[in-house]
């Protein structure tokens, strides 16, 4: 059960990554490779600040801001310097690898003897559990700190999803959505598309970095390579989510991204349990995304063909 709760916690943390990718990929209509770098940046910033004694809350907030700054840079390269979006993301991602090494001072920073948000959650959880170090969940004995960590990340993701939903229905958020939907139209309505896109990418990468920061605190270390392939993971979550709930409403799309991240984590967990070589994980991730991209189209095509045949029969 502890393993299951751990997998869920990891899935919920990565749901933040999925929400960030949803903002860049769907809201801004921008394929943002910065994600791989900003995820690690969030982890690097939080780890470095935590080991220097900064409070976990402030360190986590700083990692969000660092990610947002990286997103701003990508936005500026694309909108102001007129560099192709994909290339702008690649440039920032590549630069961030060195930045992350400089931030951490080495390739790996352990957090095992440092207070993290998880420590706070554990304290609150133990307090709520009446001082019990373990709990019984559906007949299984589970460490209170694991349940507390899961509860904390669920609460955090719910709050962030709610705030994002609210923001995307404000005047500013609606303009951001329209920027991705039809930049020509929104420009003609007096909105600076460059500023909007930069803001959207800042928000997206801030959320991605926040996900990185939480993951580093949960797993107890930050590693300079932990961001590799995160964009594919985020895309997989968004696309799986869209297949589950559709894309028509913002609220559903955000919920879909969260559900997609959880489902994807479950699929990965099952694949590993069924003996998948961990070395093949990235390959399988890419394969899952490939399937998620083409299957809906194939299913629709087959369904239409069969419908047409039954009409003619």
């Amino acid at each position: 059960m502890t393993l299951v709760i751990g997998a869920w916690t990891m899935g919920i943390i990565l749901a933040l990554l999925a929400i960030g990718v949803y903002v860049s990929f769907r809201i801004c209509d921008f394929s943002d490779i910065t994600t791989d770098g900003s995820f690690t940046l969030g982890a690097a910033v939080v780890a470095t600040l935590l080991v220097t004694g900064v409070s976990p809350l402030a360190a986590t907030g700083a990692s969000f801001l660092a990610g947002a700054f990286a997103g701003c840079l990508t936005g500026i390269l694309h909108m102001r310097c007129k560099i192709h979006g994909l290339l702008a993301g690649i440039l920032v991602m590549t630069a961030l690898y060195s930045v992350n090494l400089h931030v951490m001072g080495k390739s790996n920073v352990p957090l095992l003897s440092t207070d993290t948000l998880g420590t706070y959650a554990e304290k609150i959880g133990v307090q709520l559990a009446g001082g019990q170090p373990s709990l019984h969940v559906w007949g299984w004995e589970v460490a209170t700190k694991e349940v507390a960590a899961l509860g904390a990340v669920i609460g955090l993701v719910l709050v962030i999803a709610a705030v994002l939903y609210w923001f995307l229905h404000t005047n500013l958020g609606t303009a951001l959505r329209a920027t991705g939907d039809n930049p020509q139209m929104i420009r003609a309505l007096g909105v600076n598309v460059g500023t909007m896109m930069t803001m959207g990418l800042a928000l997206a990468n801030g959320l991605v970095a926040l996900s990185g920061a939480l993951l580093a605190q949960y797993q107890g270390f930050a590693d300079v390579q932990m961001g590799i392939g995160m964009i594919v993971l985020g895309l997989a979550s968004v696309i799986i989510g869209e297949a589950l709930v559709g894309t028509k409403q913002v609220g559903l799309a955000i919920a879909g991204a969260v559900m997609g991240a959880l489902l994807f984590r479950l699929m990965v967990g099952l694949a590993l349990r069924w003996g998948l070589n961990p070395n093949d994980l990235k390959f399988m991730t890419a394969f899952f995304v490939f399937l998620a991209l083409i299957l809906p189209g194939w299913v629709t095509k087959v369904w239409k063909t069969r419908s047409a045949e039954s009409l003619h029969a």
């Binding site: 229905h169 404000t170 609606t174 959505r177 003609a188 007096g190 909105v191 600076n192 894309t247």
Partner: protein, 270 residues
């Protein structure tokens, strides 16, 4: 009032592909004037609209609107003064967003966009009334994605969006060219009624001769980046499609057009 003074623009300047759509165009459009711009393909009429809208900066000359020198203003800043309807019905709206959300964007054209709710009850009430005035039954579909509507419906809504906050200038860029004849007629009637009722200063580009002669109080004909004909008042009211064709024929005779182009013109306009 819109004042365009000796505006010039060249694309790909200094290369074999150089195009000069605007070659010293000067035009003054008084307040409440409804000016029609016609001309052959590539004559510079859409470039003129784009220059005013700020899609690109002109190489030379100046543009003043409503007392402001907007020559170097970016497009989004000019939008505070300018309402615009594009040729393509898909260009003027955000397809995945609802009708109501599209209007919530138009309501704040030229205003700041903060963290207030984009949709609120009073806006929805006013929106329902205004959309009902189109007589298209769309007031019951405000929560539907605007991308699910026909081109004519979208263009009618775009027109309403462009004029929700009274613009100092309304730009119409062949906004019925991509519509079927019935929808085009409907949108033109709506356009004429709206401009007359609100007294909007309007610059409209069209290819359709009937629209050119029956709409507006002034007609400007462009050719090869220049204004070659400018009629208004009683002369404009007397204008018939044949007169415009004669004018095109004159241009041909002046060796500005070759005979094959004139034949194409006849086929396109008659």
């Amino acid at each position: 009032m819109l004042e365009i003074t000796r505006v010039a623009k060249a694309f790909h300047a200094g290369t074999p592909n150089e195009v000069r759509p605007l070659q010293g165009v000067s035009l003054t459009i008084p307040d409440r004037s409804f000016t029609i711009v016609i001309g052959t393909n590539g004559c510079g009429k859409t470039s003129l609209l784009n220059a005013v809208a700020g899609t690109f900066f002109v190489d030379d000359g100046s543009i003043h609107l409503d007392g402001h020198d907007i020559t170097r203003w970016p497009e989004h800043r000019r939008a505070a003064l300018i309402g615009r309807v594009f040729q393509n019905p898909f260009s003027g709206t955000a397809p995945t967003m609802t009708i109501a959300e599209n209007f919530s964007l138009a309501v704040r054209r030229g205003l700041g966009r903060g963290l207030g709710p984009s949709l609120h009850r009073s806006l929805l009430v006013e929106l329902t009334d205004r959309v009902r005035s189109l007589n298209m039954g769309l007031e019951n579909r405000l929560q539907h994605a605007i991308g699910s509507l026909s081109g004519g419906q979208r263009q009618a809504l775009t027109l309403l969006m462009a004029t929700w906050r009274r613009p100092a200038l309304l730009l119409l860029d062949e906004h019925t060219a991509a519509l079927d004849p019935k929808s085009a007629d409907l949108v033109i009637q709506l356009t004429d009624a709206l401009i007359r009722r609100e007294g909007l200063t309007t610059l409209m580009v069209t290819h359709a001769m009937p629209q050119a002669v029956h709409l507006g109080d002034r007609l400007v004909m462009m050719h090869r980046g220049r204004i070659v004909h400018d009629v208004s008042g009683a002369e404009k009211q007397r204008l018939r499609p044949g007169d415009l064709l004669d004018r095109f024929e004159d241009l041909r005779r002046q060796e500005l057009l070759d005979p094959s182009a004139a034949a194409l013109l006849q086929a396109a306009y008659v």
